[in-house]
């Protein structure tokens, strides 16, 4: 019952090239691309529109009917597409939050999150790209091998993994009992898994998954962005960094600090990580320097942030204020940004290392755009590979894939309950229960059928 047939799944991902603010694209490829889109799109009938046309409409959440975003949706029919499969591209305007929400909708309505390089891999497998290009594909996939090994374990926050293993164990007990009733009907000393009992178990697991989805930190992050605070003394280059992250000249940088903008939160898409930059007004609002930029004022921003970018001016020696800020951010997820490295360096790296307990340190020059790519990469790596730990909840789902899987698992349980409602026998309904178990196993990376058989023989005393 391992879900091995991933080759022909319909896949989806956000395919906006990093650095292009504003519009982002959710791309779906595969046989069911059109079906998935139809479920969440309100506009012209997609069956009727011609290939390679762009259509205006809205994305709605079919479960609530809520409108998510106003979009342009293009339909490209196989085989004249990049992957040689049907492709749907949804151009979203609502920024990173709406885009993520759309991706999640796409995933809970039948598509699967694409692996890195998977669109290209399909293009290749379907004979679209030639051999020389395929080497690059190979590299991509190989990079993935390493990553997925680690990722299966590391992307998972320990608490979540623990919770899911627990859920799976409970489901497995149920499955084993159903199986035992089927394979050893003559044994009367095994409790029979009745519809009533199965409904109780399914409802219980369902409740726990719903809770998980609600409290899942990453779910919150993908919805709301990763709360990020840029901290530092005046003039160290915070606004300049912010502008770079936002990829547009929203903030005005002058030699005279003090341009005010009436924005409290802004969003940036940093290599797929949605950053919610908190208190950007504070960064920009320097009218009352002493009060607003002092440590006290930063405290609040620090407390509510999941990630701190602490900016220091590398061309000056460390000040007391810097030290205070370092101290105030100790123990948080933090990146120390040594800015203005284009100027002669006066900061002592060793001292910083010592003070910050060798945190992530990165050197940049906002003015020359040096080190900024590295900064973005580091953020993405911390997020995806290390799993930025959460300040508010003790459980965290680390990416859209997991959320998608959890949503599907939830759906499978709803199918169990629906089946029981319509009087289906336990052993049939159990198919959906098994599916739920497999889906959860995909999160922890241990869908493995023999587990069930092992469980059968260790839990029950069977045989002639």
């Amino acid at each position: 019952m391992v879900l091995t047939t991933t080759e022909f799944d319909t896949i989806a991902a956000i395919s906006t090239p990093p650095g292009e603010g504003g519009i982002s694209i959710v791309r779906i490829s595969g046989e069911e691309a059109l079906d998935v889109a139809k479920k969440i799109y309100r506009g012209k009938s997609l069956d009727k529109v011609a290939s390679n046309t762009i259509n205006y409409g809205h994305i709605i959440d079919p479960s609530t009917g809520q409108e998510i975003d106003e979009v342009m949706l293009s339909v490209m029919r196989a085989p004249h597409t990049y992957t040689k499969e049907d492709i749907i591209e949804i151009n979203c305007h609502g920024g990173i939050v709406a885009t993520n929400r759309i991706l999640q909708l796409v995933i809970s309505n039948g598509a699967r999150m694409a692996e890195p390089g998977e669109f290209t891999k399909r293009a290749f497998l379907n004979g679209r790209i030639d051999l020389s290009q395929s080497e690059a594909v190979m590299d991509l996939i190989e990079a993935k091998t390493d990553r997925s090994m680690k990722a299966a374990i590391n992307q998972l926050d320990g608490n979540l993994s623990h919770l899911i293993k627990h859920l799976r164990k409970d489901i497995l007990d149920v499955l084993a009992q159903v199986e035992v009733n089927i394979d050893y009907p003559e044994y009367d000393d095994v409790e029979t898994m009745t519809s009533k009992l199965l409904r109780e178990k399914a409802t219980d697991v369902h409740k726990r998954i719903v809770q998980l989805l609600q409290t899942a930190k990453q779910g919150k992050i993908l919805r709301d962005g990763l709360a990020t605070s840029i901290i530092g003394r005046p003039n160290v280059g915070k606004s300049s960094l912010l502008n770079h992250l936002l990829h547009e000249d929203k903030a005005i940088v002058t030699d005279v600090p003090g341009t005010t903008r009436d924005v409290l939160e802004e969003y940036a898409n940093v290599q797929g990580v949605p950053l919610k930059l908190v208190d950007t007004a504070g960064i920009r609002d320097t009218t009352d320097k002493v009060e607003k930029i002092g440590v006290d004022r930063s405290r609040k921003a620090i407390a509510s942030a999941d990630l701190i970018l602490l900016v220091l001016n590398a061309s000056e020696e460390l000040t007391d204020e810097d030290r205070q800020l370092i101290k105030a951010t100790n123990g948080k997820q933090r990146i120390v940004v040594l800015n203005k490295t284009d100027l002669p360096i006066k900061l002592k790296l060793n001292e910083i290392k010592q003070l910050t307990h060798a945190d992530h340190i990165i050197s940049t020059s906002a003015i020359k755009s040096d080190g900024l790519k590295e900064l973005e990469k580091l953020i993405s790596k911390m997020f995806f590979d290390e799993g930025i730990s959460s300040s508010q909840n003790d459980v965290m789902v680390t990416n859209a894939r997991h959320i998608g899987l959890l949503n599907q698992a939830k759906q499978a349980l709803e199918d169990v309950i629906k089946g029981l409602d319509t009087g289906m026998p336990v052993d049939l309904v159990q198919i959906d229960m098994t599916r739920c178990w497999d889906l959860l196993g995909e999160i922890t990376g241990d869908s493995y059928q023999d587990e069930l058989i092992d469980q059968l023989f260790s839990q029950f005393c069977l045989g002639k």
Binding site: T5, M138, E179, Y184, G423, C461, K464
Partner: protein, 645 residues
Amino acid sequence: MKSLRVSDVKQKYRGKNYDVIVVGAGHAGCEAALAAARMGNKTLILTINLDMVAFMPCNPSVGGPAKGTVVREVDALGGEMGRNIDKTYIQMRMLNTGKGPAVQALRAQADKHAYHAEMKHTLENEPNLTLRQAIVDSLIVEDGLCKGVVTNTGAKYFAKAVVIAAGTAARGKIIIGELMYASGPNNSQPAEKLSGNLEELGFDLERFKTGTPPRVDGTTIDYSKAEEQPGDATPHHFSFESSDKNYLSVKDQLSCWLTYTNETTHKIIRENLDRAPMFTGVIEGVGPRYCPSIEDKIVRFADKSRHQLFLEPEGRKTEEWYVDGLSTSMPEEVQQKMLHTVAGLENAEMMRPGYAIEYDVVAPYQLKPTLETKIVRNLFTAGQTNGTSGYEEAAGQGIIAGINAGRRALGKGPFVLKRNEAYIGVMIDDLVTKGTKEPYRLLTSRAEYRLLLRTDNADMRLTEKGHELGLISDDRYAKFLDKKRAIDSEIQRLNQIRIKPSDAVNQFVEAHGDKPLKDGVLASVFLRRPYVNYQTLLQFIAAPDAPLDRHVVEQVEIQTKYAGYIAKAEASVEKMKRMEAKRIPDRIDYQAIDGIATEARQKLQKIHPETLAQASRISGVNPADIAILSVYIQQGKIAKLKKSV
């Protein structure tokens, strides 16, 4: 250099030539030989003792969950097991009737002696088949091709294909307490040499173990202390060809009886554990977890105060009873003591002690899905030889090996059943893809598409194939097509008839606590309601032109009621089929592929899967490995191993 023993024949002679030779007339061998012969091959079946053809060394029963479905699958392919048990059963029961259609299971108690005699008679009467008593000592193999066999009497028989179905006889060893001696099942002669020859040919053998309970004298059982378990009154058959009019009434069937072990039984076992070969280390073979011996159960499940025991008759013309649940290799005197603690068996006389048996197995990763071995061409293996356990598992492999050996002899291509087509397909794929660390038994939970692999539709799934193979007669095929047409046309009819919200309908609906109908509803949709079956449906709609056979009604009901689940399962089969279609070239050199994880590489190299789907089922091969492999195959730059000689 091998030294000859005095008993070895010096003089070899040449016997006749055949198309197919089958070694062993157990449950696998009989099916293999019959299939090959019926396809038009001149076939020879050799077996150690003609009085043990299709012998049941253990449970005198056929069928049960998954296994019963296999019997029907064998039947739909034109095999013999279903017909044979329908002729010789002494009790028939449908199990799991309270559950869904996917898991209902037919089980029969067999008259063990009649079962053997009937099968032997069938072999004798098969025109293309010769049955002969002989022990095969070695194979004739030249240039990696199997060309025949040599027997202990010195006969050399040549053939285009050979099937080995040696069961538990290969270097068999019986163990009872401290006693251990070379023997096949039930004190039969073991096959001492064939395994050695297989090793010389390069096969990797493993040593497995199984066991059987004592038999007691039925005239000494006190049945009043046990609970009776009679057979079913409703007729059931394994074979499509059997008819209801021959079904035995309940009083003509024999009952089984249920009783239990108790604390005293367990105490005796515990006190004698130091004499149990399972724990003293005498037994080296790996035993099955699903058929643990009683001593094993008592150690592993120490908190259980009793275990079920079923007393099963071994036949009509014998008073021997099989004590199901008490498999043991304890010393004989301990066995007798154990028996006497059980309610109903206080005065029972033991007729044969239980025993454990160890035997050689060909590790099944060395086989292709056709059951041909990878190292020796034209050599096939089947049944317990491949690490399975059970008569049905043996028969299922036997027929596939026989078909493929027969087709090879006829110069035709391979025949393989897929996981979505039959339990037989699941079993063989499991064996050749994952291997097995213990005697393999089929369980419904091994099948991912069990809703499609039902007992009731085995004929629908496989009769077509059986007919194409030339194993199903035109007459039976015509009957099958009639059935199929009747089902299809009735389903179609139900999809067209509308049930109006009449008073009668609404009264009925409300009586079952449902809301009354407002609009008309399709008969097929109405049938999906849990409280509606085909018969009740006929109260509200016109009956079909001719009354339907009960097997047709069964299909109409199942296919309508569970349509949603069936469609879901079929959708996932479609996906799997596309992976199955991606073939991996022969002799691919996995060492030459970068990026595959080491464990996956080793497994792939060992198993040499034939399709990407098969590769993906190997434990330890991850999706990323499959991705790399598929890109690699697509590139067409296949590094191949040199052909081994």
